[in-house]
Symmetry: C2
Subunit: 215 residues, 2 copies
Amino acid sequence: MPANMLPPLTPAERRHKRIRDTILQAAEKTFAQEGEEGLSIRRLAEEVDYSPAALYKYFASKQDLVDALKESFFERLLDALDALPEQTDNYYAHIHEGLSIYIRTALEKPYHYRAAFSALPSAQVPLPALSDDSVKTRAFTHLLARVHQGVEQGVFRQDLCILDAAKFVWASCHGLVILMTHMPNFEEAYRDGKTLSRPKFIAQHIDFILKGLAP
Amino acid sequence: MPANMLPPLTPAERRHKRIRDTILQAAEKTFAQEGEEGLSIRRLAEEVDYSPAALYKYFASKQDLVDALKESFFERLLDALDALPEQTDNYYAHIHEGLSIYIRTALEKPYHYRAAFSALPSAQVPLPALSDDSVKTRAFTHLLARVHQGVEQGVFRQDLCILDAAKFVWASCHGLVILMTHMPNFEEAYRDGKTLSRPKFIAQHIDFILKGLAP
DNA sequence: TCAAAAAGTAAACAGTGTTTATTTTAATTC
DNA sequence: GAATTAAAATAAACACTGTTTACTTTTTGA
């Protein structure tokens, strides 16, 4: 039987989902502006006209709610990456644009990005296996494939460990996003006449990264 | 009069400082293992045999206490960097080692590093001016000088905006540290036969960064 | 219609950082 | 040395937080 043959939802289930989405939507607004710490179950309950305890009929915990918000960000990120056409004649421009999309999407939702990719060590949620094609790993497997392609096409060094090279690319993009969004004044600080504009700065950052892998 | 001619401390002041240090020391232990969220004023008070309110005679707030912990990490980081000899015949090896020290020191105290360099947007503490030689900016000004040197010596491209180049280097190192410390399983995941060991992985990461700036 | 399941809530529990009023202790001055 | 002043320390309260329990109301499916 087909995997996407879901059982039809009962009215009760549809209602449940609808209310859940309403809560999620209100939570999203606060989370985007104030992050996890600014999001309070009690305040959220008041906003959607429920008692705090009622929310626990829709989410097992605050963490569960935040996880749902993170999940929707992952989907947003993947949608943005999927919008990029698969094949192009210009490999360099293609991977450059892919990384640019990653960074720009992350910059749009700083709190989501941080929550998604900077889990605290105490929360020991291991990375899923590569075989798993959950929304969480797809972005990285995508990057792995791109780096592999770059090696094959001779744009990158032949002796690269693709895994380690992909981690270098990811880390360098990640660091930029985190500093830009969570380091007050990172962009504005210390500017002079030669300093680049934001888009050019990002583009150059990616250029530096890719050049690091060149033969 | 000399700047370091501090007025002599009275016995009361010395006692105050001593107790403050005791509290700080106990806080340090918990913070290093559990971070800001794991550090509770009430639990800390119990550990040092004081009432919670008493701690407010030594620190204005929890944030103030954490700031003191961050400050000591900055000093630790700068001390490690200062231990590196100033001049060497091999520029590349020199900057490589500097970045390696930065990363390794950060990896030793993940929570300190994160707290120090990943402030939330809500906490709008601007970066101090470059002229300010506070402990916070010295590491970055140090890096700026190194990059400048690299351009002068022809190891890096001549047309670089030193500021933007330094930010690239910083961001790339920063991202690696954050992913290694706060992304569960980042290092272990997806390993195969070709995957490098941790020290070699870090060294290669730095190589990639520096190559990105090469002519 | 009626039993069962789901939805919703008030109140309590166990925490958190912080403030206020009050007392105890230590230091300084007469 | 005694009196005064300043610092240290605290108990109790305040205003929050996420979460659970016991209970009531509403909705659903047979």
